[in-house]
Amino acid sequence: MAGRASPFAALALLLCAAVDAEAAYGIDYSADRPEELRACDASYFRGERAESGRCYSALLAGDADIRIKAEAAWALGNIVAANNYFQEAFDANPEDARLRLRWGKLFEATNAEAQEVATLYREALEIDPAYAPAILGMAELAAGRFEGRAREWVEEALEIEPESIGAHLLLASMELEVGNLELAEESLDRAFELVESSDYPPLEVYALRASLDLLRGDFESQWITRALEYSPMYGDAYAIPAYFFVITRRYREAIDFYERAVDVQPDLYAAHTALGVNLLRENRVDEAYRHLRTAYEGEDGYSSDTTVNTLNLIDSFVNFTVETYDGQTDPAGGGAGVILRLHQDETDVLTPYVLDLVNESIDTFSERYGFTLEEPVIAELYPVAADFSVRTAGLPGIGLLGVAFGYLVAMNSPSQAGSGQFHWGTTLWHEVAHVFTLEATDHLVPRWFSEGVSVHEEWSTGPLPGRHIPVHVLQAMADDRFLPISDLDEGFIRPTYENQVIVSYMQAGLICEYIAMAFGQRALHGMLERFRAGDETPAAIEAALGITPAEFDDRFALHVAAEFDMVLDNLEAWNEARAALREHAAAGDWEGVRNSAAEAIALMPGYVDEGSPYLALERAQRELGDQGAARETLERYWRLGGYEPTALMRLARALIDAGNNETAIEVLEALVLVTPLDESVHADLGDLLLETRPADALTEFTVLAALEPHDQASVNLRLAKAHMALGDTGKATEHLLYALEIAPHYREAQQLLLEIVR
């Protein structure tokens, strides 16, 4: 611990630009907060800034302890001075746990790295392991990252200090995040009592009470009024509830509240940032930019990563094309159109496939959920992973591939490196399903149900056949780790073990599949209607399905047992067979691989995802010279939903060689939903389609041309052939001339040209 000031030199430099800037000076509920400061705090948190300014200035000018001066400077917005005082106090009081905690709080308020903040809190705990405010600080950091251990920390803090207002408030906040409104209310009641019996500002209690009311649908909450009566420029009276709207994906309400927050407190820069981020989720790019810019300029020198990265993301939009497609969908399906925001380098390649898939999904879901979209679906595909990460910043338990904010869907582009393992078509299908569940419920759908419907739709109507359940989820099922339906949201928002989010996705998918099977697809509509009416999960289950959540859990467990018990019983033997085939493969024993792979397939025939034994079997069959069997294995793998791109390309080529062009076309069309930037997929598919579906062949060759392949002459010849097949000799001639301009000796192009001119 000694001599560890050096890491903070960087912060000192960072803060040099931050003189007199406003950095959130939150309420310090610590019992050991000095009385002098609490006297000033009283006017500060009432919004009486002139008076509090005089009070804190007097502390600074007088002979107060250096630690008090640090706090006073911070309250006055002089961050550099505050940091210097803290540094000075640190040198003089190396064993002061509270000092380290408060210095950490300054770091936190100035958007320093969480790790730096945590270091200070941990050091405070090294000095005093039972220092509840530092334990609470750790809990707050963990909660900010949606880590399950936040609850352990806060419970530990409460055990040591049962009357910790901050701990009760954090607990309330965490319960609100997962929708446990009654538990949140209990914590808020306790915090309220404690605040009432002390002279701490009640502002945060009021703001959280307002959040509770709003989440219960009471938009006339008295608590915002009371907060503003207490402190007229307390922007968090709106910003805190806005946060819970974001967590529950109600972005429009969040925007409204963040707007009100910055109206009453224009220097609440964190609210400007949050407002900008959420405006962007509603595709209101210009307004988003203005608020983010305000935050960036206001937080001069200590802007959050979110502010800076989101501004950079908006700047990068100049490299994207935005195209609107109206009336593409069947009017009966009720689609309101599609807007695509694609990177300019990928627009010509991806547009036909993305557009087709979005339109198809809109038609499918409109019919299946009886809901008509009122606005165009906006689909954004990001070729740079970092940009997509910025787009999803601040969301708990977010998947890695796509996200839906309502009508706006954002996802990774298939061009991202290593995208062969990413079935972008399924991701897009999943995200458009969210558009329906979010909009059909006015964004009141709980996370589990929205994810469950999306996974269910992936499996039942999506472009990839079959269920795709990872092995670790099967293991979790075997270990009985599924959650009761009423608690399932927790598995998404605050996972307590690795991969619990994925387990929760799969459980939710299976639940929706079960509801559709046992109660009918109509029951899923019924659930959506109940959520729209404001029901929470237990009430929605009872109203839509006519049984209690506990009964549902029992029936679902029986269903899972019926569906999976055999698979789970075989899991160990299956793992052993897979291990054996790996050993055989390493030894080049292809006969052994064939036997072990066949054994594994017999134990779990539907498994076609990572490490599927089908691919090992096919390799063994090839090595043993049985090409026909290898092709049949690949075909079975593909029909079950396998999509490893090199395997599918091998299958397509084998089918072409075997003269089965019809199936080869299906395989290549499936490959487009995995590797749309692979030139050979479009070349082969176009060649096969040329005779029977020339218009589709032209699409494939147009996409091929957009990929700018090395062999420009042959792509122009292909385009010429497609135009010829469609009867457009003018276009055909033009492309032949382009081909021959590059390659004057191109025999096939010459022959076609002569055919046209003669």
């Binding site: 070349a683 002459a713 001339l737 590059i742």
Partner: protein, 297 residues
């Protein structure tokens, strides 16, 4: 690209041959170290040798050194042989496969036994009379010899842009593919020029790193004033032409020049460009058709 090779054959076989000059190949697969590298280097050398044999029609002018045979002495001896047997009008293509190293001063090609330095190789190559030379150094750190070897007007390709790129390279695999690829034959004349092979191979190198999601550790470089003119490989074997075919070939060559000249005037001609191009290309196709018919008789 799925054009049946037979369609190209007649055309390709009858293109004007370089003026009676011989094309010599020297292909060296250096020390692999790891067995997987040794196997890969040998495969690349075999593929390059096959392309060379298809191009020149025999093994007489092809020297392949690989495995334990690829020693410094053997390499010196092969180059000395070429110094004695080639004429100034001849062409020489040297393909170096394997691991290279660069210590900041000297490049070395790793060979079984004693390595050979870049300086030594440069001297040996300088002694070969064939004035038109292509040296493809596909080894790691090969960029170190790019400037010195190309100083005399020699065409030089290196797998890396400097001696600092020291990872094992992927270039030789893609260079070998380029020599036999119809896709690499951008102008569809049935032969692969230095420029075509380089463009194709370097593109595949870049794409392979991109597909793996890792930063490229090699950046191929080409130094040549006439990379489009040097035919480094043919996609099919050459056959003899009759006098009638020779005459038609001359007309074909004239038309090609006219097409090339017209292309330069593309902007100036505006909307008139495509009709004029079409007239030339139709005639060119007709002449080609006559060549095919005459060859078939």
């Amino acid at each position: 690209m799925r054009v049946p090779p037979c369609l190209l054959l007649a055309t390709l076989a009858l293109l004007p041959a370089p003026a009676r000059a011989e094309l010599y190949y020297l292909i060296v697969a250096g020390l692999g170290g790891d067995p997987s590298y040794a196997e890969r280097f040998a495969e690349d050398a075999t593929a390059m040798a096959a392309a060379a044999e298809r191009t020149v029609g025999s093994r007489d002018s092809i020297t392949v050194l690989r495995g334990d045979d690829a020693t410094r002495d053997a390499l010196r001896e092969a180059l000395a042989g070429l110094a004695g047997s080639t004429q100034p009008a001849d062409r020489l293509a040297v393909f170096l496969i394997g691991h290279g190293s660069y210590d900041g001063h000297e490049y070395k090609l790793n060979l079984p036994g004693e390595d050979i330095t870049g300086t030594e190789l440069e001297e040996l190559l300088g002694a070969v009379p064939a004035q038109s030379q292509l040296i493809v150094n596909a080894t790691s750190a090969s960029g170190a010899v790019l400037e010195p070897w190309s100083a005399g007007g020699r065409a030089v390709i290196t797998a890396t842009r400097s001696g600092a790129e020291r990872n094992a390279t992927r270039f030789s695999r893609h260079w070998a593919a380029a020599l036999s690829s119809e896709e690499a034959d951008v102008n569809k004349n049935g032969s692969i020029s230095i420029q075509e092979a380089f463009d194709y191979a370097s593109r595949l190198v870049a794409e392979s790193f991109e597909a793996d999601g890792i930063l490229a550790t090699e950046h191929p470089e080409l130094r040549s004033d006439a990379a489009g003119a040097f035919e480094v490989s043919r996609l099919s074997a050459r056959v003899a032409a009759t006098p009638v075919v020779e005459a038609l070939n001359e007309r074909l060559a004239e038309l090609e020049e006219e097409v090339a000249a017209l292309r330069l005037r593309r902007e100036e001609l505006g909307d008139d460009y495509l009709p004029q191009l079409q007239a030339l290309l139709v005639e060119l196709a007709e002449v080609q058709e006559q060549i095919d018919e005459a060859s078939a008789e």
